[in-house]
Point group: D2
Chain length 444, copies 4
């Protein structure tokens, strides 16, 4: 039985002129609305506003958004004012209420909903909401294009399903509200996951401190519609950085000796970054993903940069690699009489899903309509900053799991033809809300 029974919700509906999301159809409409308005990290103004509106239309006890949901000191890779203002204006142009936007000024996106229903455990659900700098396909066979809800922001796209994730969050609230849930439910609509920049500040916001069980969720991951993975592991801890070298320019023909060559520093650094020793404790990774430098063919370059990352099978392995990387960058600068400024741009630890919680989710999933296969465990093999929230809960004695909800996706994640099979929305809501209820029962 699906928890999303139309009739149940209808009763609780308070009738607004906004898109109704109190039914499966409503959820699909919300997802398509968000899909048309993909927004990158720290600029999810439209998205957050739509979520807040949906929360206001429901019997939610607390709605938090703006600076209150993010630990200021932990925010990473925030764009400059201009970059933020552009998307703020786009949201306004798209018809968002200015009053709604105001608390988000400066890029404080994301929201938290709290439902309190008497004695019971505090259960959290984390969903992420940001999009990617990818141009969406306009091919006929691409469903959003065919159905008319393709991205309205050229060069940006929900190519990883976070539009669906946000919708799951709202759907679970509906389902829980319609149930006899006892306890507290907190839904975390997290910004900036694609830059692994938003997990840490939300994890450290204080709102996670009393969460006893945390569910995080991702759609797809090469599992078809109907498959559920109860506990995903194998997150590589990751740290992304921007290193900027500053030297001294000079004319390459007339005064080569007067330069402090930032491109030589860069080349030395790149060679040695990739050569950081492997570690016996497990896998590590290094990448110099984007590099650049110099101003003219005949000028000794006085500027260069590398945007790179390190990863590790464990957080300690990523830390080991990062420390080595810092040393390489500093020494390469020193060698060529340059300065280097290194800034962390994104970060996420590794994490494990807890057995107990995995078992609960698996059991619920096996009973859920539409679910055809349940896997207890799978490896991600990538990185994800839900791990910050998971570890925050685990470090306080709670349990966490990262749930995979299969969806038939024609293109791979992060490609221009990625899409979500909307049938998986109801499945996800059923499994997640079912798990919330099961945890509630279990505890009392």
């Amino acid at each position: 039985m699906s928890l999303l029974v139309t009739g149940v919700y209808a009763d609780r509906s308070r009738g607004t002129d906004m898109v109704s999301t109190h039914t499966v159809e409503g959820l699909i409409a919300l997802r398509r609305d968000l899909h048309q308005h993909p927004e990158p990290a720290w600029r999810e103004f439209y998205t957050t506003a739509r979520i807040v509106e949906a929360l206001r239309a429901r019997d939610v006890d607390e709605i938090h958004y703006g600076p209150a949901v993010l630990e200021e000191a932990a925010r990473m890779n925030v764009p400059d004012e201009e970059g933020i203002a552009e998307w703020y204006d786009r949201a306004l142009s798209a018809g968002v209420d200015p009053e709604l936007l105001e608390p988000m000024e400066g890029g404080y996106t994301g929201a938290i909903a709290v439902i309190e229903r008497g004695e019971g455990p505090t259960v959290g659900l984390r969903v992420d909401i940001d999009a990617l700098p990818i141009t969406e396909s306009d091919a006929e066979h691409h469903y959003p294009a065919a159905e008319g809800f393709r991205s309205k922001h050229d060069g940006y796209m929900h190519a990883c399903g976070h539009d669906a994730h946000a919708t799951f969050g709202v759907g679970v609230i509906d389902a829980v509200l319609a149930s006899d849930f006892a306890g507290t439910l907190k839904v975390f609509f997290q910004p900036g996951e694609e830059r692994i920049a938003g997990g840490k500040p939300m994890a450290e916001s204080g709102h996670l401190d009393d969460v006893e069980y945390l569910l995080a969720v991702h759609v797809g991951l090469d599992h078809p519609t109907g498959e559920v993975v109860a506990g995903i592991d194998g997150f590589l801890a990751v740290r992304q950085f921007l290193a900027e070298f500053t030297g001294e320019s000079s004319h390459a023909g007339a005064h080569p000796e007067q330069g402090a060559n930032a491109v030589q520093a860069l080349a030395t650094a790149v060679q040695n970054l990739y050569a950081i020793p492997r570690h016996t404790d497990g896998a590590t990774r290094v990448n110099a993903g984007i590099v650049g430098g110099g101003t003219a063919t005949n000028i000794v370059p006085d500027e260069s940069f590398v945007e790179g990352e390190v990863r590790g099978e464990t957080t300690a392995l990523a830390d080991y690699t990062y420390e080595r990387a810092e040393r390489v960058l500093a020494s390469a600068a020193e060698m060529h009489e340059c300065d280097v400024a290194v800034e962390t741009r994104g970060q996420a630890p590794s994490a494990e899903s807890d057995d107990e919680l995995v078992a609960v989710v698996a059991e619920v999933a096996r009973e859920s309509p539409g679910v055809t296969a349940v896997t207890e465990r799978d490896e991600l093999g990538g990185s994800e900053d839900a791990t910050y929230l998971m570890r925050h809960v685990q470090d306080s004695g709670g349990d966490a799991t990262y749930v995979g909800v299969g969806t038939d996706h024609p293109g791979g994640h992060h490609t221009s033809t990625f899409d979500v099979d909307e049938a998986s929305i109801e499945i996800a809501v059923d499994v997640l809300a079912g798990a919330v209820l099961a945890l509630s029962d279990r505890d009392v």
Copy 2:
């Protein structure tokens, strides 16, 4: 006595509605017009059109422009169609006659004027006409800004005096037409010097083949108004190149082994380019002036590039260094399973000024009004593709010299406050036309 006597020219004037350049005032007006319309290499549409108009307004025997003045195969670093079209349109918008522009379609800029006056030597004068991608100062103390003839093309500027050079060419024609010159004068208005891309195609166009004496000229070079250098040497031979590496991208976390890393190839190349062995025969130079590569922090980069250059005290030394550079680039690509495409973007040989011709210019200069100091020889220490034209003449048995005409320039060459003291225009015309006449007399 100045050769630019107003009365003399007036007689030859055929009265057009264009800016008259038949007087010193006319030359200054022409220079300011060109200064306001700075155009980069292969896009000197407005400039060439104005020159052709000026030539048509004079008793010039032949005017060549379009593909006829450039050896097709030798053109380097030609922008793509779009880049050319943009400036073509700007010229149209600035009021240039479309019929005049047509032969230049595709970026065939530059012009050659021929004056035939009976028996006598064939003397050439080479001036260059292109501008730089530099934003001109709008400070009050910057004369073009104060006088209202600052660049109309944002981001572009005549910051090396080629506006004055083109004017010298027209002025010398006026002066020679007003004289009893016997022989043939060819004035080469060469495009694309700043990219050292236009010298070779003009040198190989055929028009230089019968030139017995070639004068090239540059204004400024840290010499004040009134100083003349009769023969400049010490040109470093130069070759500029663009190397583009193409590899294979892959996810840096999930499949590092599947990539063919174009940034590693770049780093290896840069390290080894700078390490090309020095040469016992003289100075060499290498520079990796601009580099870039990669698409995302977490993707093994599949593309990178380096725009670099090599130089040598002699052409052989530049060739030696270039051959080594090619080997480095190819091997670095090979090492990382990448392809590399290397394209020459600009080139100029070294050259020497011939004693005999230097002596003629020096003698004329000493007698010229306004000239306060004459130096026989000076070193440039940079590169310049007038050397192609000089060597072409020398290889056929002729003589060439590169003349420096001082000018008080407030900012250095290639800076936003560079400017030419317009008093040096008359001096340059006097010295150059005087040398042309002296060569004519000498030969007969």
Copy 3:
């Protein structure tokens, strides 16, 4: 009950004037004799001779040694004639019968003993016999020094227990001969393990072709006396290589450009070897262990070399890394106009111990006197060329396991104070011979 009951063997003793090894005391005497005569890879002349003498003193059906026990084409890292001759002479000086040595001329060390006792399975036991270039401690607390059987070859030492391994081989023969074993036992005394150079040629000699069960053994490995590991895994596949760069020398001051710099090639190679991409399938390793090059401070170096190695969690991973390494070496040579010759110096695949055989050994071990703890599985985390023999048997459908026999060793493996607790000799013989018998029973 120990299989090494003195009385039983005494009956079979045929009384020679050689050191008797037919008792535990005899085995210990043999071990000490070998310990005093440590010999490096392909130069185990004394060792092989002593083993052959011991075999001749027993009722062994076939004794093979010399070229017949090694596939010629697979021999790696064989020293030059002089290096071999030196140790050949040492063996003669130590009193070895010249007739016995003759078949080993050219470095054909190692031996194979065959015992045929009717119908039954063919069981193999592989032990290695070579020593290390380490100077043995002469400290009082170092037992071999205190007891007077310290190495007689300065700079060489049995620092990894292969003296004990050879003794195990002889002891197992004694025990099996004294038993009612039915089947064929082949004991492989393998040379050159420390250079991972002897495993492949013995594996491919043909003598392994009919082996159905193979036991390999190592003493110590940080397990104390009394502990047995029935199946060791986690061998890293390894390939060691020597790369020699040859360029062109020239005077570094007078003619730097005439050189082809083999040290620049080396440096480029080293930087890029360590930067070979990590692999998602598992651990890899790279090391440039020994490098050298050049002849004089003021000469552009025309020679250099690197002795290095790659490893992989699987043979495929080692192969992947080796292929990348070859490419790096070739391209680095090409870049600096050098030649490079790359030679494989040692090699071993990864391997797994088979469950069935592990179970047999574990069961026998649990019943063996002196054994206080049995572990079924452990990881080696290093490399070992017994894997060649193991895989050869496995590829023909047989089973193999690598057995660990604990010993209290004061210093670590490959250190100057390593030593074997001689009490572990009897334990090893009991477990190994017990397993041989169990396999015999099991099969019939």
Copy 4:
């Protein structure tokens, strides 16, 4: 007329049992004796002893040798005790009087002879005395081999003519003693030139302080017998260094992360040493002449070294390059968590020959018997630490020149078939002694 008239010297002979050098034949015998006993830097025990004996056999006013002729703090690249002792013993074995050797203990080789003959200028002559680590040819066509005076020290050879130089010094003393010279003559027999290690300590010994004119001399340099170059210039300033990296070893398979890789530091350093920017003021050179590192294929290397050098057309250019090199070495160590110790092993500044002195030598040479061609100036294009002595004199207001005396040499300098045409000995003595007399006359 040759200054070396037999009759004149005979009178001064005091009859010893040593090889007489008071005739041309005597000089040739001395040269051959030294040729048979080639000794490397700081180990010229036999050579110095033979020189001191020759001085004692003459009417020389002061003979200095031992620590007194060398500024202790300036000695470079002195071998260790064992290395010195070996050659000390060889000298004893060759029959040198132990009493004579004693002051040289510790490697204080070299000598200074002073002749005072009344009022007149103080003139210095510098000759060097050390040999090279080259094995001398034993081919029939190699004159020393054919005539039986080939090197007695295997692996060492006078392959640069310093045996002849020392002989010149003795010959000039003979000639001056036989003349009416007025003034002071100091002859400097300098050790350690081949390592550019002995010039500085002798220059700073105090003995040069009052020298007004200094002549230095070299034989050969591709000039045939009969040619004299009065003033050689174009010495490249040079600095040789030994850099030793120390890291941390670890097992390359088991614990790659625990190492601090001294070979990676070395490779990074080498790549960046060669890439030190060229300088606009003139030629520079860099060479990593000898490198090495590591202990075993499977051990992360904890030690490595590079013996290298930098040069410059001027001392300032060499200093520039050396400072950059130091920075590269320090940063490369830092990058790989290694320490680096850098020691200067040899050094020499650039220097110029003074016009006045060149003119004197040229004039004398033109009048000398046997001289067929006199060149005033030539370029060396290499390095030589006579420059320390030259600059010391010049800095005190004196003049110096470096004289080339041609000789037909079959093999090039520093090759196994190098040899000196002994006819050039008399020519050299005539020219140098002639110059000493000319300076004496000139001054009075």
